[in-house]
C-alpha cells in the first residue's frame, strides 16, 4: 500500500515536472524572460560600472554583493556547526595519531604529491587573483587550496599537514571572508556611497577605476583564504574525531 502511494506520488511529480519543462522557453531564445529584464543592463553597463572584464565576477561581487555576503556567512556558519559538534584541538597542540590504514602510502605516491601540491596551490593563487578577468574567483581558488591540502592530508596523515598549517594560522584566517566583505562594505559607506559600494563617490573620478579594481581583488583574496581555511578545518576536525592519541610531542 505504502509503495503504491509513493509510486503514484512520484508519477504525479514526474508528470508535473515534465509539463513545466515542456513549457520552458528553448535554450538560447533571445525573447526568454531571463534575457529581457535585467541581463541586458548587466551586459551593457558591467564593464563601465564594475571595471571587471569578467561580467560574472562583476555581478557576483558588485550587483549582487548582498547575496555573496550571505553565502560567505553560510559557509562560515557550516564551519561553526562542525566545530560545535566535533570540537577543536587544544590551543597550540599538534597530536599524532595511530595509523589505522591497512595500506601504507608508497614512496612513489608521496613523491608525486610532494611534486604536484605546490603547482596546485600556484594554480589556485592564479584563480583567485585572476578572478575578475577570467573564469574563477575567490571561492573556486579557495576550494582548490582546500583540495590540495586534502590530497596532502590523505597521503601524509594529519600530523604532517597540521604542522604545515597549524591552528595559529587557521584561526584568524577562517573568518577572513566575512570580515573582508564587511570591511569593504563599510569602507564604501566611509567613501560616501551605500553599503558595499565599490566606487567611492567622494574621490576623484580618475581614481575610481583603480579603487574598484583593488577592492574587488581584496575581497577575492579574503574569500579565497577564508574558504580554504574553512575546508581544511572541517577536514581536520572530521579526521580527528574518535582517533586515539598515540604520541603527544
Amino acid at each position: 500500500m505504502k509503495r503504491v502511494v509513493s509510486l503514484l506520488f512520484l508519477a504525479a511529480l514526474a508528470v508535473l515536472l515534465l509539463y513545466v519543462v515542456a513549457n520552458m522557453p528553448p535554450m538560447g531564445d533571445p525573447q526568454s524572460p531571463t534575457r529581457t529584464h535585467v541581463v541586458p543592463k548587466y551586459l551593457e553597463d558591467a564593464q563601465e560600472e564594475t571595471h571587471a572584464p569578467n561580467v560574472i565576477t562583476g555581478i557576483i561581487l558588485n550587483y549582487r554583493g548582498y547575496d555573496t555576503m550571505g553565502e560567505v556567512t553560510v559557509i562560515f556558519c557550516a564551519l561553526a556547526g562542525v566545530l560545535a559538534v566535533l570540537g577543536r584541538e587544544k590551543r597550540g597542540r599538534i597530536y599524532a595519531y595511530a595509523d589505522r590504514s591497512r595500506v601504507k602510502s608508497s614512496t612513489i605516491v608521496k613523491t608525486m604529491v610532494r611534486f604536484t601540491v605546490p603547482f596546485i596551490i600556484l594554480f589556485s593563487v592564479y584563480t583567485i587573483l585572476h578572478g575578475e578577468i577570467s573564469p574563477g574567483g575567490g571561492f573556486q581558488g579557495g576550494a582548490i587550496i582546500g583540495a590540495s591540502m586534502i590530497i596532502f592530508t590523505t597521503v601524509f596523515g594529519l600530523y604532517e599537514s597540521s604542522q604545515r598549517i597549524p591552528q595559529k594560522l587557521r584561526l584568524p584566517l577562517e573568518g577572513s571572508a566575512v570580515l573582508t566583505f564587511f570591511t569593504v562594505g563599510v569602507l564604501g559607506m566611509v567613501g560616501g556611497g551605500n553599503f558595499l559600494t565599490y566606487a567611492w563617490p567622494h574621490i576623484a573620478v580618475s581614481l575610481q577605476p583603480a579603487v574598484v579594481v583593488w577592492l574587488t581583488i581584496l575581497v577575492e583574496i579574503g574569500i579565497g583564504l577564508g574558504g580554504a581555511m574553512v575546508f581544511i578545518s572541517i577536514l581536520f576536525s572530521m579526521i580527528r574525531e574518535g582517533e586515539e592519541v598515540a604520541v603527544v610531542p
Binding site: 574563477g136 586534502i150 574525531e241
Partner: protein, 81 residues
C-alpha cells in the same frame, strides 16, 4: 557531434545517479558520485558556465568526496538493510 555528446552526457548522468543511489557499498557510491560531479562539470562547461564548472570540479569531485570518504572511514562501509 554536439547533440550526440549532450545525449551521452545526460545518459551517463542518469546512470551514475541511479547507481550511486542503489549501491549498497557506500564507498562505491561515493566514488560514483564523484564521477557524477565530473560529468556535471563537463555539462556546465558545455552550457558555457566555466565558473560553475570550476566550482563543481573542485568542490563536488574533490572536497565533498574526501569528506564522505572520511565519514565512511569513521563509521561503516556497508549500508544496513
Amino acid at each position: 557531434m554536439g547533440p550526440a555528446l549532450n545525449i551521452i552526457l545526460i545518459a551517463l548522468l542518469v546512470i551514475t545517479a541511479l547507481t550511486a543511489t542503489f549501491s549498497r557499498d557506500l564507498l562505491a557510491a561515493v566514488i560514483i558520485f564523484s564521477v557524477y560531479s565530473l560529468i556535471m562539470c563537463l555539462m556546465w562547461q558545455r552550457l558555457q558556465a566555466p565558473d560553475l564548472a570550476l566550482t563543481e570540479a573542485a568542490v563536488g569531485a574533490g572536497v565533498t568526496t574526501v569528506l564522505f570518504v572520511v565519514a565512511i572511514f569513521k563509521t561503516r562501509r556497508k549500508e544496513e538493510r
